[in-house]
């Protein structure tokens, strides 16, 4: 074998790179666990069924924004007949009062950084 040393070193680097996810959490000493969310107290349900909310709240927000800002259509009726104002800060954060312990925990977990907060201001208690 020519250059056995270099080739074996290359293979080891390749294997280490591919298996990064396997040793990463050990190396970082992190606990691998889904984020713990603080859910609103005294409220029964979200504006959509929870399962849908988990996967599609960003699409809902996008729709809300268009309806509210472009069409002035600011009130929605939920599937169980409640009336909710289409507002990021007033509705979403009105129920989910602590952004840090709700939105952010989830978003940090999957490393999404919505840029909405460049303009919109989260109610006090949930800076950043």
């Amino acid at each position: 074998m020519y250059d056995a040393g270099k080739i074996l070193a290359g293979l080891v680097i390749f294997l280490l790179l591919v298996t990064t996810p396997v040793w990463w959490s050990f190396a970082m000493g992190a606990e691998v666990r889904a984020p713990k969310l603080v859910l609103p107290e005294g409220r029964r349900a979200c504006v959509l069924p929870t399962g849908e909310m988990k996967a599609t709240h960003m699409e809902l927000l996008n729709r809300w924004r268009d309806l509210a800002v472009r069409h002035g259509d600011r009130v929605m009726t939920t599937w169980d007949g409640r009336k909710v104002r289409r507002s990021l800060t007033q509705s979403c954060l009105g129920c989910h009062t602590d952004k840090d312990k709700f939105c952010d925990r989830c978003h940090d977990y999957v490393a999404v950084t919505p840029y909405c907060w460049d303009c919109h201001v989260a109610p006090r208690g949930g800076a950043s």
């Binding site: 591919v18 996810p21 959490s25 988990k54 977990y109 950084t113 840029y115």
Partner: protein
């Protein structure tokens, strides 16, 4: 026709995965068993390939050079085009691997309307290949957010650069458009250029269709049929921490994506895609052009019993002296 065969293969695979994803009993297979199998085949296959290449004899130093080699001091030399030392080889390889230097020299041969043979530079293939490979790399690095906990800062930065335009929600990512455009160009090149079509095999199309399928399902999952990413990350982390779990309520499209990725990984070491490892072991690139300074021994050389002039002189020393013949030794 060969393109059609490949398309049918990918369509059947996607269809089968779609059907299987609808059956609860099949989900552990799609979500856990096949990914593990595919990864095992990928790793073992890549290592076996590289070791096999490394063991093959290299009879000659066959560096292909494109510049002035090291020579007389007043001749300007080109260390990256004709490397002499190990570090120069590293530089040359880096250019090759990161920027596809040799593809940059690609030319097209064409008959002009007047039936003259004309060669002209053809940078389009280089640009398309570079666009595809770099967006592929960026996408894989961005996917690390699903596999690493805590997510390294670099991944977030990469994503914010990729989502620079801040269009739409979820943010439109540049690499998603680039990879599809590049793949479609590479496909069109095979389909519409008669000479390239002539040398294209079903396997050439298969790689392209498979990658298009993976990118397509990924993009569909991000922008149209949302899945719950928190559950996906739970599944992905379960796989890599060797404690597999199968969360409820992940959309079927995720399993199609994952299945196509598994197929790609398992197929990788047996296909031309293995050039990912092969490029490092190409003797025309990874050898220094130092033939004049260092002897390269051909391992195939049969051991020949030689009798050198020195030995001969030694043997007949006394007789040569007696005849008064001149000796090299003295």
């Amino acid at each position: 026709m060969r393109a059609f065969q490949a398309l049918v293969i990918v369509a059947v695979l996607s269809g089968a995965a779609t059907l299987a994803a609808g059956v609860t009993a099949m989900r552990p297979v799609l979500g856990i068993v096949l990914p593990y199998l595919a990864l095992a085949v990928f790793l073992a296959g890549m290592v076996a390939r590289v070791v096999w290449w490394a063991r093959s004899p290299v009879p000659f130093k066959i560096t292909t050079v494109c510049g002035q080699q090291r020579s007389l001091p007043f001749l300007r030399r080109q260390p990256l085009e004709s490397p002499f030392t190990g570090w120069q080889v590293v530089g040359r390889m880096a250019l090759e691997i990161l920027l596809f230097r040799s593809l940059f020299r690609n030319t097209r041969t064409e008959l002009t309307p007047r039936k003259n043979l004309a060669y002209q530079p053809d940078k389009l293939l280089w640009a398309g290949a570079l666009a595809f490979h770099w967006s592929f790399l960026v996408i894989i690095l961005r996917h690390l957010r699903l596999f690493l906990e805590p997510v390294p800062r670099m991944v977030g930065i990469l994503e914010s650069v990729d989502g620079f335009f801040q269009l739409a929600v979820p943010t439109f990512l540049l690499t998603d458009a680039v990879i599809v455009a590049a793949l479609l160009y590479l496909l069109a090149r095979r389909l519409f250029n008669a000479r390239v079509r002539y040398v294209s095999l079903a396997a050439d199309y298969l790689a392209l269709f498979l990658l298009l399928g993976i990118a397509g399902t990924g993009i569909a999952m991000r922008y149209f049929w949302k899945v719950d990413l928190v559950s996906v990350k739970e599944l992905a982390l379960g796989l890599v921490t060797l404690r597999p779990v199968l969360p409820e309520g992940v959309g079927a499209i995720f399993f199609v994506h994952l299945f196509l990725v598994s197929v790609l990984f398992a197929y990788f070491p047996f296909s031309k895609l293995v050039h990912m490892g092969g490029v490092f072991l190409s003797p025309t690139r990874n050898m220094a052009n130092d033939n004049r300074a260092r002897r390269h021994v051909n391992p195939w050389n049969h051991p020949v019993p030689v009798h050198t002039y020195e030995e001969w002189e030694e043997e007949f020393h006394d007789k040569l002296v007696a005849c008064g013949l001149p000796l090299d030794k003295e």
